[in-house]
């Protein structure tokens, strides 16, 4: 990343050059995807423009608008010419979902410094809350109401999913706050597994989750009469929530609550001595972090139209944690990049590798050992990545930077305030 920004520093000092280079990049990669619609690489290169945008020296508002235009208009438009349109948008949707989730975990791990190895549980809780009521499942145990609820309720369920997940966040938080460090990791890991096992077994005595059969025929969302059933449509929902989540996280980071989290992370005793209530602050981190997951759980359930407990294994919790660590703990752009990299590796690169491997085995009759199956490869690759990052880049892809204030401005404001005070006191003396 530093090489990249160094390159730009050298060749594109002026803003004008940057604009030209950036537009050229977007046009070229866009054209590339247009001409080679089935090339995953072209698609990824186009997405890469967002990262370049992040490093450009534009005004923040310009960056945001450009980024949204690229993600909401340019990428879907060009991709729509491809046969792989829905696949691309599926990847985009997954990136959006996992970005929001990773940003949620980042609040807990990166801001508040609380290790959580069972984070996927909140995603599961969100997913099941929509799945149960937007399918016939609720009729099996609810004494009143007509189920499935219509697809229009999806929008309300985004909020409900957030609330239910944050409630579970608090439930987890209460016992967990007594323990620290390694113990915290173990307890949260256990919590994640308990939720998964519960979901897998709550089909008797009362059939709430339909057990290991999972819940099928979940109603797709309905938007003013339009049924949302394609990845290309879900993409916009995921993008919308993702943008809201970034906004919320960014604002929280520099708020009083955000500072309390970081203070607790850096030194619990000093934080308390400054009047910060430990329990309340940590619970807020768990609750708010979990709510992002819950929201995206609802989207996930609606998109898949089927949920069962296998989507919420310990491996998934680890993946979200990998996104945070790989990207850079506490760093919002880093975590977004981390989530994008992990999802793209999982859905694009690894599947390509395994396709290639199976091609090899059929073409040349080479036996591919089971250890090289995509599933195992995944664990191996992410394990290696984690080790490499732990050794050589502990801060992640985009290390966290504290927000710097404009000292000159502060100086001016401080002088102005001093003048005001003087006026008040001298005015008071006169009268």
């Amino acid at each position: 990343m530093t090489i990249l920004s160094a390159l730009f520093d050298k060749f594109a000092q002026s803003k004008k050059n940057q604009v030209i280079l950036f537009i050229a990049y977007v046009v070229l990669t866009g054209l590339g995807l247009f001409l080679l619609p089935d090339s995953t690489i072209a698609f990824l290169l186009l997405l890469f423009s967002i990262l370049i945008l992040y490093y450009l020296k534009f005004n923040l508002r310009v960056k945001w608008v450009t980024g949204i235009v690229i993600l909401a208009i340019i990428v879907p438009f060009i991709a729509s010419h491809s046969d792989s349109y829905q696949t691309y948008m599926e990847v985009g949707t997954l990136v959006g979902i996992y970005c929001a989730m990773a940003l949620g975990l980042n609040i807990v791990v990166g801001f508040a410094g609380l290790l959580d190895l069972g984070f996927i549980a909140f995603f599961a809780v969100g997913a099941y809350s929509y799945a149960i009521f937007a399918s016939g499942q609720a009729a099996k145990f609810m004494p009143f109401g007509h189920y499935p609820l219509p697809g229009g309720t999806f929008w309300i369920f985004i909020i409900i999913g957030a609330l239910v997940a944050s409630l579970f966040g608090i439930l987890l938080g209460i016992p967990v706050l007594r323990v620290r460090g390694d113990y915290l990791a173990i307890v949260t890991l256990g919590f994640g597994e308990i939720i998964r096992i519960l979901l897998n077994n709550m089909d008797h005595p009362l059939n709430i989750t339909n057990g290991s059969m999972g819940i099928a025929s979940i109603k797709p969302p309905n938007f003013f009469g339009i049924t949302i059933g394609n990845s290309s449509q879900f993409y916009y929902i995921a993008l919308g929530i993702f943008l809201v989540v970034i906004y919320v996280v960014r604002k929280l980071e520099d708020s009083k609550l955000g500072r309390s989290w970081k203070a607790v992370r850096d030194n619990e005793i000093a934080a308390q001595a400054m009047g910060i209530p430990l329990v309340k602050t940590k619970l807020a981190a768990f609750a708010i972090g979990a709510s992002f997951s819950g929201m995206m759980g609802v989207v996930f359930a609606a998109k898949q139209m089927f949920v069962d407990a296998t989507s919420f294994t310990y491996l998934e919790s680890t993946m979200v944690l990998v996104m945070v660590i790989l990207g850079g703990m506490g760093s919002v752009p880093g975590v977004i990049l981390g989530a994008a990299v992990v999802i793209i590796l999982r859905t694009q690169v690894l599947t390509n590798i395994s396709d290639w491997l199976s091609q090899m085995s059929t073409d040349y009759g080479i036996e591919i050992p089971a250890a090289l199956s995509p599933e195992k490869m995944q664990l191996l690759i992410f394990g290696l990545l984690l080790i490499i990052f732990a050794l050589y880049r502990t801060q992640g892809l985009i290390p966290h930077k504290n927000r710097k204030v404009d000292v000159e401005l502060l100086k001016k404001e401080s002088a102005a305030a001093a003048l005001d005070r003087e006026k008040v006191t001298s005015g008071g003396a006169d009268s």
Partner: protein, 258 residues
């Protein structure tokens, strides 16, 4: 008038009695020093006032109200703030943010308001930043506003701790060895700063310190602890000549040999 009264305060760690039956009265707006050799129980005494430790027995009264049984953050909200002997800054936050955390309990900016970008919340945060900057100027750290606290030099870290505590606008400020590790010049500056602080903030200061020059110069009253017991108390001049104090510091026989 006494702002803080400590009554028969005892703290035992297993078999070890860290402080034993300490009684003190701290006058409002005074500077009081608590001195004594290492391990005398001074920090333990601070830890009990700030609710880091619960006393084994005894009582602590702030303006007549007991603080025993409160949580540390509640004690802080009642107006008692401290610095730490082994510096405890928020190392990965900026110097300015450290001071802003100090202001925490006086800031009325709820995060929901921040999310909604309510104008008055933005104003509160803006004013707080200016106020924090003024505090940094006061403790001589205005050139390090955006630096991470963990990157500061030792003396600067001590001053930042004082700045952070000031930001809480306490009624009582507890300073645990503020001059430790400072050179004579820095210590002199610090002495003046502490002395000045009392009138600037209208605050009562209790200070643990080994630097006798500093202690004698600015204290109104001194308590001396040794092996957890209160062995002497009085004005600086009385303490300077107190035999038991000299003995505690220099060892038995020191007085006789003189």
């Amino acid at each position: 008038m006494n702002i803080l009264e400590v009554k028969n305060l005892t703290k035992q760690f297993g078999g070890l009695t860290a402080t034993s039956d300490i009684t003190m009265n701290i006058e409002k707006n005074s500077i009081t020093a608590v001195i004594g050799p290492n391990g005398a129980g001074k920090t333990t005494f601070f830890n009990m006032i700030t609710a880091v430790y619960k006393p084994t027995s005894g009582d602590i009264l702030l303006n007549g109200k007991s603080l025993v049984g409160l949580k540390p953050h509640q004690v802080s909200q009642f107006g008692i703030t401290r610095t730490f002997q082994n510096i405890r800054l928020f190392n990965d936050m900026t110097v300015l943010e450290n001071v802003l955390v100090g202001m925490h309990q006086n800031l009325k900016s709820h995060w929901v308001g921040t999310l909604l970008q309510l104008p008055h919340i933005r104003k509160i945060e803006e004013t707080a930043r200016v106020e924090a900057y003024d505090i940094l100027k006061y403790v001589g750290l205005e050139d390090y506003v955006n630096e991470n606290a963990g990157n500061l030099a030792y003396g600067a870290q001590r001053r930042l701790e004082i700045g952070r505590a000031m930001a809480a606008k306490p009624k009582i400020l507890l300073l645990d060895e503020p001059a430790a590790g400072m050179n004579p010049k820095e210590t002199e500056k610090l002495t003046n700063l502490i002395y000045d602080l009392r009138s600037k903030l209208d605050v009562t200061i209790i200070l643990i310190e080994h630097d006798m020059k500093l202690v004698m110069k600015i204290s109104d009253f001194i308590y001396v602890l040794d092996h957890g017991e209160l062995i002497a108390s009085g004005k600086p001049d009385e303490i300077r000549t107190n035999n038991r104090v000299i003995e505690a510091y220099l060892g038995k026989g020191a007085v006789a040999n003189d």
